[in-house]
Amino acid sequence: MAKPRAILKRTQSVKNIAKITKTMQMIATAKFKRAFDRAVAARPYTDKLTRLIGKLADAAGSEFEHPLLDKREPKKVVLLAISSNRGLCGGFNANATKAALQAHAALLERGLDVEVIACGKRVARMLKYKRVIADVEHTHIEDKPTFAEVDVIGSELLERYANGEVDEVHVAYTKFETAARQAAVVEQVLPLEPPQADEDAASGVQQNFIFHPSAEQILADLLPRSVRLHVFQAFLDSAVSEQTARMVAMKSATDNAVEMIRDLTMLYNRSRQTQITTELSEIIGGAAALE
């Protein structure tokens, strides 16, 4: 049996680790709430934009054409992989990277030239380990992505798409579905799917809207916005998912540490008792030998 002193030392270090993981869990919980509020705050904008685009699509008719809707023969595609700058959040980064790698392999199989943009130190490092070197790395986006920060990336992609440099844009990120469910997904950002005409607008409540300047032009103004919003939403979702993943990971780490402390304490008590018993029997044995 191990020496009681060594066990005591180990217990102490496990206790320290438990303290750290507990704190990290609490921080992640606080950050999760904030990130969640931000993701929810974006929702009215998304809903209204989607509904408006539906309404306009209905008004503009099916002949509406826009460069962002064109499906051209793809040659060069961009894969935007989003994860975090920090680790200690369970399988969060690994899952996001896995999704990105799968998408990357699938795109290569189609014989395309793939450019990888990695957002987050972790995903960049893990991709590099798998011999996929990111062409661009963004590591400045922390756990509170602002629209302005993210928009730099979104606008650049839009511009390059408009120039014909890039023919498709995909984004791999962790979608936040519910607090208990996040899934690493790959979505196509560009070209856009043709907007679906709004059901409500078509059925009954048809109002005669004045379009200023015209439905087509407004739609042309809104489509790039919806692309940028899509990218922003991906970053927000990823930020929320990261905090949830960290919360869960740190919770189980704390639980494990507590259990370990209990086991170690029991082991310590036992070995202490064994030691005392041994010493006692030695003394008694010694005394008996003297008689």
Partner: protein, 152 residues
């Protein structure tokens, strides 16, 4: 009805809602000039430009925002404004706008796309300066600043 009719205004951005509430009337910067919306306005969708959004609440108090680009929708007595940049007018940074204006002026632009982009930056900077000048009464732009066109 006309007496106590009120608009329900919501200004939303991707980062959250900037204004939510009742209003007497709203003046918004449409892409080709300012437009006002009063209750009983016809249903409408308009593209917005750079400029000041002025909301006059039912108690007469005003609330002003700088916004750049976006879209306004009027449906019934509901006014929804979607914009990516919404800043309360008094928080507009004039110095930064001046710097941007000078910078945009100094950037050479060739071709339609670049010229358009530069015009957009210039419009944005000028609108910021104008809005800030109006909200504080200081830093009002001079005629030169407003009229000065970029060198082709």
């Amino acid at each position: 009805m006309a007496e106590n009719a009120a608009l329900t205004v919501s200004v939303v951005t991707p980062e959250g809602s900037a204004y939510e509430g009742q209003a007497h009337h709203v003046v918004a910067p449409a892409f080709d000039g300012e437009m006002a919306v009063y209750p009983l306005h016809a249903p409408m969708v308009a593209v917005l430009g750079h400029g000041e959004l002025r909301i006059t609440r039912t108690d007469g108090a005003g609330q002003n925002f700088y916004l750049s680009g976006g879209v306004l929708q009027v449906a019934g007595d509901e006014v929804s404004i979607l914009a990516e940049t919404v800043i309360p007018s008094r928080d507009v940074d004039v110095e930064q706008a001046h710097t941007e204006l000078t910078e945009a002026m100094g950037t050479p632009a060739v071709g339609e796309v670049e010229l358009d982009a530069r015009m957009d930056r210039l419009d944005d900077a000028r609108a910021r300066i104008r809005v800030a000048g109006r909200s504080t009464g200081r830093n009002a732009p001079t005629a030169d600043q407003i009229l000065q066109k970029p060198v082709e």
